[in-house]
């Protein structure tokens, strides 16, 4: 019960914090790529991965919510053959991880900081979740709200990065509009506790992420993500561009990672499932 009260208090606080920006967006047009009179793209709507039915044996497997390899393949994602320019330490760390996704996926003894501790996914891993996200545009900032983890980011407009931002899970983000259809988010100031994605790719505190969102129409948003991390990779590389669809009912139910409930799950399901097979 105390846990639920704590969770409720968190939601209440988060709700109070973003109430002004939600009110601001309520007055804005939504779900349309039409010219709204402004000189930049209207990102209103709800975007992202909608989740997929768990398939019966023999049925087509759902595509991953994100193509995890620069070459656009899944079977080599998070392996030495995937086309990512790993520095030696980054490759060594990747191969020492026990991730939940990709060809090296395992249930057993996971090293995933989100599975172990419910730590924030960070950026760009937050887009690996089969859940939705939403932009709230204001004159001074664009807020990005995510259902998974119940987290949000502020992307400041019309300002420069701090000289020495404190390392954080979601980084420090600065945004700019390009043309009439694109929004670019430039982020630095990350800690090194998160993974880039669910295959376990590491990064350093020198991580610099460039996200590019281009609205293709009322129901389509193109996303591009570039990784520039001279502390972990020998060159800049990008995830394949993908298009996400619009959806309904943002945050009808949010998707927190409750440490208590996750621990209960790990105790009752995961440990039994990863114990040695019966003789």
């Amino acid at each position: 019960m105390r846990d639920r009260l704590g969770l409720s208090a968190c939601f209440l606080f988060a709700g109070l914090a973003i109430a002004p920006v939600l009110r601001a967006q309520a007055a804005a047009p939504s779900g349309s790529a039409k010219n709204t009179g402004s000189d930049h793209v209207d990102l209103s709507g709800v975007w992202g991965n909608l989740g997929a039915a768990v398939p019966a044996a023999g049925a087509a497997q759902p595509a991953g919510p994100y193509m995890l390899s620069p070459k656009g393949t899944m079977q080599d994602a998070g392996t030495p053959a995937d086309g990512v320019p790993y520095q030696p330490w980054a490759m060594k760390k990747l191969l020492a991880e026990r991730p939940p996704s990709g060809p090296r996926a395992t249930f057993d003894s996971s090293t995933d900081p989100n599975i172990l501790y419910c730590e924030l996914y960070g950026v760009p891993r937050i887009y690996n979740s089969p859940s939705k996200f939403k932009f709230v545009q204001t004159p001074e900032a664009v807020y990005i709200l995510y259902e998974y983890g119940v987290v949000w980011r502020v992307v400041w407009l019309n300002r420069k990065h701090s000289d020495d931002p404190d390392p954080s899970y979601m980084g420090e983000s600065i945004g700019r509009y390009e043309g009439k259809d694109t929004f670019v988010v430039d982020s630095i100031g990350f800690n090194d506790k998160t993974w880039l994605d669910s295959t376990g790719r590491p990064h350093s505190e020198k991580l610099h992420v460039i996200e590019k969102f281009r609205r293709l129409g009322p129901d389509k948003l193109e996303m591009g993500i570039a990784i520039d991390d001279p502390g972990a990779y020998s060159a800049t590389w990008s995830y394949p561009t993908r298009t996400v669809a619009s959806a309904k009912d943002f945050a009808r139910e949010v998707w927190p990672c409750s440490v208590r409930e996750n621990n209960e799950f790990n105790e009752s399901v995961e440990k039994s499932t990863t114990a040695p097979a019966k003789k």
Partner: protein, 126 residues
């Protein structure tokens, strides 16, 4: 042209087959996704929790012995979108679970769907 389209189809199918499904949070590598298990039983607990839900089911075998199975399902945020509520399952309900069982043979699994006593089906989403 026909050969070209066919080749694209074969390649796309192959990619789907070798793709590891990226299910929510902890993935599905602990389960035998190539095999469906179907069990009838009585629900003892339905956990409407995050980041995963859980269904506990008592199953009585031919010899009269009872075994409890625990099958994970999606979180509330995914399930409400396809018709579930926190009251969809209740202790004492007689249901049939379709799921992928644990690879190691433990009485655990990941849900495909639930068939209620009145025949209504609830699909899982992760």
């Amino acid at each position: 042209m026909r050969i070209g389209l066919f080749a694209v189809f074969v390649l796309a199918s192959a990619l789907l087959l070798v793709s590891t499904p990226v299910l929510a949070h902890h993935g599905a590598s602990g389960y035998d996704m190539d095999k469906d298990t179907v069990l009838k039983g009585t629900i003892t607990q339905f956990e409407w929790t995050n980041p995963h839900g859980r269904i506990a089911l008592n199953v009585v075998d031919a010899g009269g012995a009872t075994q409890e199975w625990v099958v994970e399902c999606g979180p509330p945020s995914r399930l409400v979108e396809i018709g579930w509520t926190r009251h969809s399952l209740n202790a004492g309900d007689h249901v049939t679970l379709h799921f992928h069982g644990a690879k190691n043979g433990a009485p655990r699994g990941i849900l495909i769907k639930v068939v209620l006593e009145d025949g209504k089906q609830l699909e899982n989403r992760a």
